[in-house]
Amino acid sequence: MDQARLQRLREKAQADRWKVPPEVFSNALERSAEKAFAGRTPSDADLDRYYDALHLPDLALACACAMGREDAWDHFVKEFRPAMYRSADAMDPGGGARDIATALYAELFGLKEKDGIRQSVFRYFHGRSSLTTWLRSLISQRFVDRHRETRRLDPLPDESSAAPLRASASSIDPDRARFVAAMRAVLAAAIAGLEPRDRLRLACYYAQEMTLAQIGTLTREHEATVSRQLARIRKAIREDVERRLREEKGFSKVEVDECFTSIVDDAGNLDLGEWLDTGRKKSEADRSISEELS
């Protein structure tokens, strides 16, 4: 790396505060750019813009912690541990994520060695986010994967528990199963036909129950914009569903009504995300899309 550029970035990162050697910091910057420009060759101007946008002080601190600098670790523990625990508690108010945050310390420190060198997870921090956000992301990843693994190994529920209710409902209306199947098929097709960003908005709102503000943070939109977009998407889906029922399934207006009615009482078997509902505080404050739409 160009020495003048490296020196400028080191000063901006306050790398000397943690005694991070130039070659270590240079390697960290190059790894970061390598990941960001994967398969591309950036111009010098692109690189300058990229490096200047990085969270350089956090990157220097991560380098120092990966090297085992005592003062850097003291600073990290003092400044970042409370945020890690707050994030873990926000994920699982029951305390289930705290042990993940704690276990992360071992990985960050690098208890395991390879060829005599400690393997710290800090080497995967590239400065494209703040250190706090990166830690939050690591905890989220481990939390989700642990619960998915746990969920996978859970025994299936006793089939007999829900069977009588289903049998009863079916016996009342023999066409109900047909309408439910048709409705699900056209709904799935309508969702699949959306633009990825629209599908993402829907998934975040309906499946993940994120707030408008949280979705806006992800999509770089104001929450009011997210609200408008969700209203637009749902309107489009409804029109698409009704059209497909009429044109593809050949249903009459009455049958289309029946299709909508048929799924009212059908909880479905598609609750793969429900494990995340445990302990979650439903924030209805900015989830007013249904009111706006009605």
Partner: protein
């Protein structure tokens, strides 16, 4: 009917969208990319690729949702559309939320007074714990004696020190909290923080001060084998305990939990719990189970316990210093790191025989 259809469609969307299929694992977002996305560190092309993947991937949707919820006190959780609060863009504070700061400070001060323990209770606690230790750990006393430690004076000294320091501790804790409230002004999450959070903060603060005020206690004996009391062991209990700290293992059917100074284990996914050890009263606060049979526990006064046989026996591998420990991270029966409430760190690579600061 039109409005009814909208509501029905919302329910159907909820079910349908939860059924998103997960593509091959290699395509999923890594934590660094997700973090960069969250902080706006991705270029347009990379962000579009991330959106396209997440829109179809159940695992990454869960990840994004968990990430979003992990920001405690996210703006918008208190804001309601149609009110002035929602006019704020993500990442900024609305003007009206600043009014919450003095209210929050008042609530914090009130909470503080409610959670400050009374002096007699604190003064008595160490003596009771010491008595309990003598009953439950008969092997510990001779070992202390063999090392030439002043056994008789140990309980009294910390008690006296605590009694003398308590008013100052309370005063300092209140000052600290008031300062923290001032410093936190404008941070919405503090305005909305539950009382438990404030109580926890105070507990940590007070614990740190108690540790600083206490005279150096003799090092605990190394590797003292602890057996669970015969009358208490294998007394299965079922149900959820609201005050317990659960420690998962690699096998979801196995698990540990800490309820005060009790260490319990379940081998049926938490349906029933078996008491494995009633500790001496230094509240156990955290644990780490790197394997199904190995588990490390930490607590107050440098307490570290290790079992390598799924709780049949516990070994006391406590620190020499009576630091209040907050957490432990272990990779196996030999390697572990412990963290004190004030941020001091120790590690061992010999199963707790020696602890080195790092």
């Amino acid at each position: 009917m039109s409005n009814d259809r909208d509501r029905i469609l919302e329910q159907a969307l909820k079910h349908e969208l939860r059924a998103a299929r997960t593509p091959p694992a290699g395509a999923c977002l890594d934590a660094e990319t997700l973090a960069a996305w969250t902080d706006g560190g991705l270029d347009a092309a990379t962000m579009a690729a991330a959106e396209a993947h997440v829109s179809n991937c159940a695992r990454c949707q869960s990840l994004v949702g968990t990430m979003g919820r992990s920001t405690s006190g996210t703006l918008g959780t208190l804001g309601t559309p149609g009110t002035i609060g929602t006019l704020s863009a993500p990442g900024t504070l609305s003007l009206w939320k600043w009014w919450l700061a003095p209210i929050a400070a008042g609530v914090a001060a009130t909470t503080l007074w409610m959670v400050v323990p009374e002096p007699p209770q604190l003064a008595v606690a160490p003596a009771r714990e010491q008595t309990k230790l003598a009953v439950e750990q008969p092997a510990a006393a001779p070992l202390d004696s063999a090392q030439g430690k002043p056994e008789a004076t140990q309980p009294a000294a910390p008690s006296a020190a605590l009694e003398q320091n308590l008013p100052r501790e309370r005063s300092e804790a209140r000052d600290n909290l008031a300062a923290a409230a001032r410093a936190d002004r404008g941070q919405l999450r503090d305005a909305a923080a539950p009382k438990e959070e404030e109580a926890k903060r105070f507990d940590e603060s007070a614990a740190g001060q108690r540790q600083a005020a206490a005279p150096a206690a003799p090092p605990p004996p190394a590797a003292v084998a602890l057996e669970a009391p015969a009358g208490l062991q294998k007394s299965a209990r079922s149900g959820f305990s609201p005050n317990s700290i659960e420690i998962p293992t690699l096998d979801p059917s196995l698990g540990w939990r800490i309820v005060g100074d009790r260490i319990e284990r379940s081998d049926n996914g938490g349906k029933t719990w078996t008491l494995m050890l009633q500790d001496r009263g230094d509240r156990i606060v955290a644990g780490s189970a790197p394997t199904n049979s190995v588990c490390w526990f930490v607590g107050g006064a440098g307490r570290v316990l290790l079992t390598v046989n799924a709780g049949t026996t516990f070994v006391d591998v406590s620190l020499a210093e009576p630091l209040d420990l907050a957490s432990v991270a272990a990779t196996d029966a030999r390697n572990a790191m412990v963290f004190s409430v004030v941020g001091r760190r120790f590690r061992t690579d010999d199963g707790g025989r020696t602890w080195r600061p790092f």
